[in-house]
């Protein structure tokens, strides 16, 4: 392995140091999920086994979008749920 930096798989967060032998095949693979990576390219692996800053931002945006959709659905449901108590001929 040409680098001593900590390297972790972007898909399964496995320690990529354990995939050193595979270099003989011409490319590096995560031994757990088989994802390819390049030890010389920082964009192909993580320096810690945790979602990257970019992924955290994407997750936060997705969470907020989902929360907004859920809020609208829940508010709509709560608004009409009380109407069953209204005495009506319908």
């Amino acid at each position: 392995m040409p680098t001593t930096n900590p390297m972790f798989c972007k898909r399964c967060y496995a320690d990529l140091k354990q995939s050193g032998d595979v270099g003989a095949l011409g490319c590096f693979f995560c031994v757990r999920c088989k994802r390819r990576f390049d030890p010389m390219d920082l964009r192909t692996y993580l320096s810690r086994p945790f979602p990257s800053r970019r992924k955290i931002i994407i997750h936060s945006i997705i969470t907020l979008i989902l929360a907004t959709i859920v809020s609208i659905v829940v508010a709509g449901w709560l608004s009409v749920a009380q109407m069953k108590y209204f005495h009506s001929t319908h």
Binding site: F50, H59, V70, Q82, T89
Partner: protein, 167 residues
Amino acid sequence: MLDYETKLPRYQSTPEDRRWLLRRLFYYLGHVVVLGLIGYWAGPNLIMFHSLFSPTPADYAAIAEGECTTAIAAIKAYQRDNGSLPSGTWELGGTYLPRNSDPTGNILSTTSVTFGLGRAVVEYEFTPAREGWFIHAPRYDGRLPAPIVPPSPTTRPAVTQGANANH
């Protein structure tokens, strides 16, 4: 074709892996908690009440009393004079209650009257054992802390009584 499966060594988990796995689980759990708090609580409250918090029973009681007391007092006056409940507030028009007064309350052969107030249904039960205010609102469904409404002093007009006396 290369057979990577046979050439790749088996991954050996380390104690650090477990610690980071727990951190990632907390991270995802945090997102789920935020989704739940906003999606079920804060978001609907902002949409429905324009506030992070829902009204308290005391808030609902103040609104219900302000909007419905006159109509309920009129219904009780009608019941006192006629011995039965009307079908709704529209039967009280002109005599016990001003015509086209809001809100309109429905009784429809039940023992309570219901008023629609925004997203809530205010109910006043006339059965002596259970008499009182109830509300069916998005965040609260139960009895309201409001006093029992006495019947309004209004009775049937003297003209009607005189007309009955002539028969």
